[in-house]
């Protein structure tokens, strides 16, 4: 049962990160390779805020995504926006390069061995069928709330309608008087902020280290391939589902737990190449 809980927690991160990737891809047509690095920046921002300014976890939950999101806004304004007219691969290459720079700088400054972040909630909660550390339960709930809020913002608000329309036909949306370039910048900032938020949530259960996002982002790519990037609900279901599968694998056949997601990806490619929730085009 503990493995199921860990699986759910991992799934929460997969869901949040693949959601951010999908939102960014939908609007910018860029696969944000730097997503893992920005997740790491979120955790570091929280850790630095605590260490230097004694900002508590709960404030960092808001502040860190804002700081890292602003950093994303600058990246988009200065670099990414100049590549939209080119093949998608260049955006991928650029963000790959950026992730090397970011992770390299953090490694150079703080090394690759991690630093602990004190858990903001201690103790465990009895769920009736199992005991779960309260903070981990909080992560799962928080991830669900974040995903739901993102869904609401995109599907039910005016800004979300702009976003959906601009994904389909940015030229026309702009000709209606909407500042589409600004919308794109905001989208990237929010997507990056989501990654950072996931990073802050991860800080207390992981070591805060320069490399914490490196491998994670590669797994999240597999999650995105499995789920397809078409739907928000798809990202959430796929993320949690794969977390669970990973947890169960750890329980029944531990050596395969690292690779099971990739095996699932291979199977999905065989059976439904567009991804479970993707549209074939």
């Amino acid at each position: 049962m503990a493995q199921v809980a860990i699986g759910l927690v991992n799934g929460a991160f997969y869901a949040m990160l693949s959601l951010g990737l999908s939102v960014i891809f939908g609007m910018l047509n860029v696969i944000n390779f730097a997503h893992g690095a920005q997740y790491m920046m979120g955790a570091f921002a929280a850790w630095l805020l605590l260490g230097f300014l004694e900002v508590p976890f709960w404030a960092s939950l808001v502040l860190a995504p804002l700081i890292v999101g602003l950093f994303g806004v600058v990246l988009e304004r200065v670099l990414l926006k100049r590549l939209y007219h080119l093949d998608h691969l260049y955006g991928f290459l650029l963000t790959f390069g950026l992730s090397l720079v970011i992770e390299g700088l953090f490694r150079w400054q703080w090394g690759s061995s991690g630093a602990p972040y004190p858990a903001p909630i201690t103790g465990a909660t009895d769920l009736g069928f199992m005991m779960m550390p309260t903070y981990r339960l909080f992560i799962v709930v928080a991830a669900l709330v974040i995903c739901l809020a993102t869904w609401y913002a995109i599907e039910r608000t005016r800004l979300g309608a702009y976003l959906r329309a601009a994904t389909e036909n940015p030229t026309l949306v702009r000709a209606f008087g909407i500042n589409v370039p600004r919308l794109i910048t905001i989208t990237y900032g929010v997507g990056v902020g989501l990654a950072a938020l996931a990073g802050v949530l991860a800080a207390p259960i992981q070591q805060v280290s320069a490399l914490m996002g490196t491998n994670l982002v590669l797994v999240v790519f597999a999650v995105v391939v499995i789920g397809g990037m078409g739907s928000i609900l798809g990202s959430v279901v796929t993320g949690f589902g794969l977390g669970l599968i990973e947890g169960l694998t750890k329980l029944y056949y531990p050596p395969a737990s690292n690779t099971v997601i990739f095996v699932v990806m291979a199977i999905v490619l065989l059976v439904k190449p567009a991804g479970l929730f993707g549209q074939t085009k």
Binding site: I31, L79, R82, L83, L86, D87, H88, L89, Y90, F92, L93, L94, F96, G97, L98, S99, L100, V101, I102, E103, G104, L105, R107, W108, S112, T214, N215, L218, V219, F221, A222, V224, V225, P255, N258, T259, F262, V263, M265, A266, L269, L270, P273, A274
Partner: protein, 310 residues
């Protein structure tokens, strides 16, 4: 003689005298990476498929070579052959799955498969986890006739392998097969409507590219006498992309130039430690932003413009 032929002769002459001027191990390493980058570039430049997981072929071939030579005590040429076949087999499986998606998804899928291979290498007994396979003896080639313990002798072997690999790439690009591949890259629906089975062509290009990357990886293991997790890592996959990008994507000579630049740079920057990563990333950013054609591509453009003007 055409200028390009003259250049080729000069380059070959330079390659022949190079080990007396420069450090042979450096040259051999650079040649291996040049072949690796050429294999990657074959796939991107001529099939329009960007693999972000090419280290899985390079690295696995290095492991196969190491295991064959060190544990099974086979001669190096058999080790290289096993490495190439192994890489091609992995290429066949991952390629058949990856070509089911296009564009950016293809890159993500290859990256994910490479990561899976990486995780497997961490766990599998024959790769020896963090240690890798170390101290692979340089057994003599050709049934004991050609000892390769001397770096200069080995250099000429590596040069021959490199030239063979590049010859394969050249022949492939200029074959009818390569022409069809280019047609598919430029307009897949049209090529399909003309009756070409695009997926078959892409898969064959993928397997060939994997095999050549394997050739490079096995040769590298022969030269440096080790195979480690670094060889299969995502950063290795990224590095080969960088080499091709620096030299010029889609050009024949670009990857060679790129590989020499990056390997040289790594030698000089070794003292910077962690900072090398930052510099590599920065080069990525600068090239993607400002010099997308790479060194060879930009020079070719400049040359054309100059000839037009003059």
């Amino acid at each position: 003689m055409k200028p390009s032929h003259i250049a080729l002769v000069i380059a070959l002459a330079a390659a022949l005298v190079a080990p007396f001027v420069a450090y042979p191990v450096f040259l051999m390493t650079a040649l291996c990476f040049a072949l690796f980058a050429g294999a990657f570039n074959l796939l991107l430049g001529y099939a329009g498929l960007m693999s972000f997981g090419h280290a899985m072929f390079f690295g696995m071939a290095a492991y196969f070579f190491g295991h064959a030579v060190k544990v099974w005590e086979l001669p190096p040429e058999i080790g290289i052959l096993l490495g190439v076949l192994g890489a091609a087999a992995i290429g066949l499986v991952t390629g058949a799955l990856a070509i089911r998606r296009q564009g950016i998804y293809f890159a993500m899928i290859t990256l994910a498969f490479a990561q899976m291979i990486y995780f497997l290498c961490v766990q599998m007994p024959f790769t020896h986890g963090e240690d890798g396979i170390q101290g692979i003896a340089r057994r003599p080639l050709l049934g004991g006739l050609l000892p390769i313990t001397d770096d200069r002798v080995l250099y000429y072997v590596v040069l021959a392998i490199f030239l063979f690999g590049y010859f394969c790439i050249y022949r492939f690009i200029h074959s009818p097969f390569g022409q069809v591949l280019k047609a598919i890259r430029d307009n897949e629906p049209r090529a399909v409507s003309l009756g070409y089975e695009a997926d078959r062509y892409k898969l064959l290009a993928f397997v060939l590219s994997a095999a050549l990357a394997g050739l490079a990886g096995a040769t590298k293991a022969m030269v440096l006498q080790f195979a480690t997790l670094t060889d299969v890592s995502a950063s290795q996959s990224g590095e080969v992309v960088l080499m091709a990008l620096v030299g010029g994507l889609g050009t024949i000579t670009g990857p060679i130039v790129g590989a020499f630049i990056i390997i040289t740079m790594q030698n000089y920057l070794a003292s910077f430690g962690e900072f090398v990563l930052v510099i590599q990333g920065a080069i990525f950013v600068v090239i993607v932003m400002a010099f997308r054609k790479g060194l060879v591509g930009e020079i070719a453009d400049w040359w054309k413009a100059r000839r037009k003007a003059g």
